[in-house]
Amino acid sequence: MLARFGLGAIALAIATTFAIPGAVAKYPEKTITFIIPYKPGGGFDTYVRALAPILEKRLGVTVVPKNMPGAGGRKGATYLYKSKPDGYRISIMNLPGKAIAAIQGKKGVGYDIRKFTWLGQIASDSYVIAVAGKSKIKSIADLKKLGRTIKTAGTGKGATSYVVSQIAGNILGLKLKLVTGYKGSSGMSIAVIRGDTDIGFFAYRSYSKFAKSGDLRAIAALDEKGAIKLGKPGLSKLRIHRLVAAPPGLPADIKKTLEDALFASINDAGFKKWAKKARRPLAALKGKESEKLIDELVAFYTGHKDKFK
C-alpha cells in the first residue's frame, strides 16, 4: 500500500524533471504544502487532513498537510506571509485569533492579516458561555450577582478564545479575569469542569460534546438567536472562523484555480458526509466573500481595542 504513494512520487519526480525550465509554467505542477499552524490532532489539523485528499483530486497534484506549531499559531502564519506567492504554500487560518495584532495595532508581529490572499472559508461556528455541569450559576444575571471578578479559561493571549472573551465581557459588562495557558478547547473544558475558573467561552461544537455528558452547561449562547435574547445582537459577530489563506500577492489566475478547487472540495459530497458524521460544522465561502468578512470583522474587533492592552 505504501508503494502506491511511492509510485505517485516517482511519477511526480519524472514530471518535474521533464518540465522545461523557462517555459510558461502551468499551475499546479508540483506538491502543494497545506500548513496547519498548530500541533497534530486538533480541530484545525483534522479539517485540513480530511480536506487534503479531496483537494488533491481536484488539483491533480499531491497536497501535503504540514504542522507548524509555535507562538500560538503565529509561527505558521508568519511563515506563510513570508513565502513566495506561487500557490504552493497555503494555510488554514483562524479568526479572530489571527487578528489580534491588527486589533492591538502592534508592529513586528510578522504578518498583516488584511494582506494575505484569502482563498475561502471552510467552517465557522458560534460560541457559548458555559459553566461546570454542577455549578449553581444559571444565567449571565447570576454571574453579575456574584459581584466579583469572573474567572474564565483561555489558551493564551492571542488565541481566538481570548479575543472572544475580552469582547463579550466588554459588551455584557462582565469583569473578567483570564486564566491562560490551557491546551486547546479540551484543556479549557477540563479547567471549567474542575472548577479552576467560573466560566469558559467555547465554540458550540466542542461544547456540545461535554454538554451531552453533563460536564458542561451553557448559560448563554452567542449565536444570532442567543445574542438577541441577551439584548446584544452584536455578540453574534463573535464566531470562530476557519479560513484558508495564501501569501500576499498571489497571481489572480493561480488564486482562481485554488479558490475554485477549495470551494468545490468543501462542497464535495464525501467531505460533507464526513463533516456530518464527525459533527463538524461547515460554512463554505469564496475568496471575495472571505475578504469582505475579514474587513468587517477586523473593524468590529478594533472597536473594542481598549480591552486588549
Binding site: L2, F5, A9, V64
Partner: protein, 172 residues
C-alpha cells in the same frame, strides 16, 4: 585529593583546564540569559530570573570547586554525597585535544554542508569522505557505504514517506 570520591578531581591537567573553560562557558551563558531576561515584563521574567540567579550561584560554586583551594575542597565534599546515576561513565582515558576538535569539526562541516547543498548531496559525500579519511577504508568499501546509506535515506524518507528532504540554500 580525597581518594577518588569525585571523579571530576581525578582528571589530568589539560582536562582540568578544559573543565574550567566549560564551567566558565556555562557561567557566561547564565549571565547572558539574565541580561536578556530584563527585556521582558516583570511577570514574564519572574521565573526565568529565578532560574537564572540560581544557576549563577551554582556556577560560581562549581568554578570555586575547580580551584585547588580549601573552599573548593569543601564544596566538592558537600556536593558529592551519594554516588550513583549517570556518573562514573566518564571516559577512562584522556584523548588528545586535536582528535576531539577534529571529530567535532566533522559534525560541524556536515551540518554546514547540509545547509549549503542539502541532504541528498551531502549524505554520500560525507559518508564516503568520513570513511575514507577518518576510517582509512578502501575506496570500494567507502563507495559501498556511501551508496547504501544514500539509498536507505532516499527509499525510507523520500520514496516511502514522501518527505522532501532539505535541498540546500540555493533550492529555496
Amino acid at each position: 585529593m580525597n581518594n577518588g570520591m569525585n571523579s571530576g578531581m581525578n582528571i589530568g591537567a589539560p582536562e582540568k583546564r578544559g573543565a574550567l573553560y566549560f564551567a566558565l562557558g556555562l557561567f557566561a551563558l547564565t549571565v547572558f540569559f539574565i541580561y536578556l531576561s530584563y527585556d521582558y515584563a516583570p511577570n514574564v521574567r519572574l521565573f526565568p530570573l529565578m532560574v537564572g540567579y540560581t544557576g549563577l550561584i551554582l556556577c560560581t560554586l562549581d568554578l570555586i570547586g575547580l580551584t585547588d583551594t580549601a573552599l573548593g575542597r569543601i564544596i566538592n565534599t558537600v556536593f558529592s554525597g551519594t554516588a550513583a546515576g549517570e556518573t562514573g561513565k566518564v571516559a577512562k582515558f584522556t584523548p588528545k585535544l586535536s582528535r576531539q576538535l577534529i571529530a567535532m569539526a566533522w559534525m560541524v562541516g556536515l551540518v554546514i554542508g547540509i545547509y549549503i547543498v542539502g541532504f541528498m548531496v551531502m549524505v554520500p559525500a560525507y559518508v564516503f569522505s568520513s570513511m575514507y579519511f577518518q576510517g582509512k577504508k578502501s575506496v570500494k568499501k567507502c563507495a559501498y557505504g556511501a551508496v547504501s546509506t544514500t539509498v536507505f535515506v532516499w527509499v525510507m524518507f523520500e520514496f516511502l514517506l514522501k518527505y522532501e528532504l532539505y535541498r540546500g540554500v540555493f533550492a529555496e
